[in-house]
Amino acid sequence: MDVISCQELTKTFGRVRALNNITFTIGQNRITGLIGPNGAGKTTLLKIIAGFLRASSGEVRVFSEDPFNNLKVAANMIFIDDQMRFPTSLTLSEILASAAAFYENWDMELARRLFDYFSLDPEQYHHKLSKGMKSTFNMIIGLAARCPLTIFDEPTTGMDAGVRKDYYRALLRDYLQKPRTIIISSHLLNEIEDILEDIFLLSGGEKRLQTPVSDLKEFAVALRGRREVIDKLTAGQEIYYQKSVGKDHSYVVIRRDAAEGLLKKAGRDGLEVFPVKADDLCVYLTSRKRGGIDSVFDRY
């Protein structure tokens, strides 16, 4: 069963096109990473799935229903981000008690144990917490709610490295105990790569790639060699990334299957072949310009 399905989803804010013609499905009980640079449309997409924003055109289905203004979707979904607001007159433990009333599957023991582990003070107020502590508290709410669809939008904002590591571990352990559909958005893949099953690449409001993480690692290779050889070989190919190495050498990233065909035809010819790390590939696939930031400075 698909938990989320989108057909030709487009979202515009005035003249700005935040999401452009996106079609995808997300299956039940998968952990998907939504990866893309700033301004790619990650938050917009997640908020449409959560039913906070309305799609401008196209069809969105969550649990087979239109999520916008839908109570059933709201009851089975939790959306965690760093903009979460709680009443300023409630202490953290009172907020936990309120959350428990709203969510049927709420696990108070888990919440308390995480609370103790991260040494949060139950009598503290949410608006007085530091940025990282807020994120930690929000994460606890997200995990303990045990919603069939759990959405984390850039959940680790402000967390220090240790807490981030603990968070990913907690998420994975809890997921293994209680499988559910989880989406985590991030602008970087490297930290969350290990816990993800699927990856969804978004850039400029368009879907770039949706694939299991294991496939992503096999998706592309890098070739390095003399520039004229590389240029001749890769003419007409889709090049994800290209940079010059030294005076007359070139480094390009292309699809693995394309590369294999080319190499079979042309022979190795002094070319070196490297694997491409998944997080590097994500950056290449979503970056604005093929040459990267170097292209700005390569004027001559």
Partner: protein, 250 residues
């Protein structure tokens, strides 16, 4: 599906509204503290007397000081209007949609909250009139006329009922204004202009506005006033819900 799968819940609107209402009562206690502050301020202002005048000749001088708790009630009206507008703002909306909610449940629990606020505001505002008498008795006791010092219970109860009705109407209007501003910031300019226009220009040009006003506010029978105010309030809330039902949140 494996055994450990989390099953989907089927929420009922009534249940959700109830949970949100309780959550809001707990989370918005500060607004009631503000009400107490506003009423105490009204009480202090009332201590100087609503009006005073004197008359006499060379031998005798009579000075009359009138005290009234009207000011406390006006302050309470102002308080509930501000509260009604405030809870439509993005900040309060955000808090709603942190946990389970849709637009309708959010509005209905807000209406429940404002009704509660009107009842608490109405009762405390009327009773603070009694408090005012007691305070004046102790401060300026020698001038106090003992006649009418104790108000008949039915008068107090009627006063409470009428105050609550007005508070309901004002809160509905405030909520409606807040919703309009959420729909478009243009209303921040239009609404005050419209208000001044209605009072001054429109009331002269369009007698129907005066008629509507008199029809609702100028009612002398409590039962009829209640019916008129409750129907008007319900209509205004219904308009707010319909208008804001397509708003995007968070």
């Amino acid at each position: 599906m494996s055994l450990t799968d989390i099953s989907l819940t089927e929420p009922s609107l009534f249940d959700t509204v109830k949970k949100q209402f309780l959550y809001k009562l707990k989370g918005r206690l500060g607004l009631f503290l503000a009400m107490m502050g506003v009423q105490i301020m009204g009480l202090l202002f009332s201590l100087s007397g609503a009006s005073s005048h004197g008359m006499g000749d060379n031998f005798l001088y009579v000075s009359v000081n009138e005290f009234s708790s009207d000011l406390i009630i006006w302050f309470t009206f102002f308080w509930i209007f501000v509260v009604a507008v405030l809870i439509t703002t993005k900040d309060y909306q955000n808090i709603d949609f942190t946990f389970v909610a849709n637009r309708l449940s959010s509005h209905l629990s807000n209406v429940g909250f404002l009704i509660t606020a009107a009842v608490i505001g109405g009762v405390t505002a009327m009773l603070s009139g009694t408090l005012l008498r007691i305070v004046i008795y102790f401060i300026r006791g020698r001038y106090m006329l003992s006649e009418n010092f104790i108000t008949a219970p039915e008068v107090v109860l009627t006063g409470i009922a009428v105050t609550i009705l007005y508070l309901l109407l004002i809160s509905a209007l405030g909520y409606f204004c807040g919703v309009l501003v959420q729909l478009s910031k243009v209303f921040i300019v239009i609404l005050p202009a419209l208000y001044i226009g209605t009072v001054d220009f429109l009331a002269r040009e369009l007698p129907v506005i005066v008629k509507v006003y008199n029809f609702i506010i100028g009612e002398n029978s409590l039962a009829l006033l209640a019916v008129k105010v409750l129907i008007t309030t319900a209509l205004i809330y219904a308009c707010s819900c319909v208008l804001a039902n397509r708003l995007e949140v968070r």
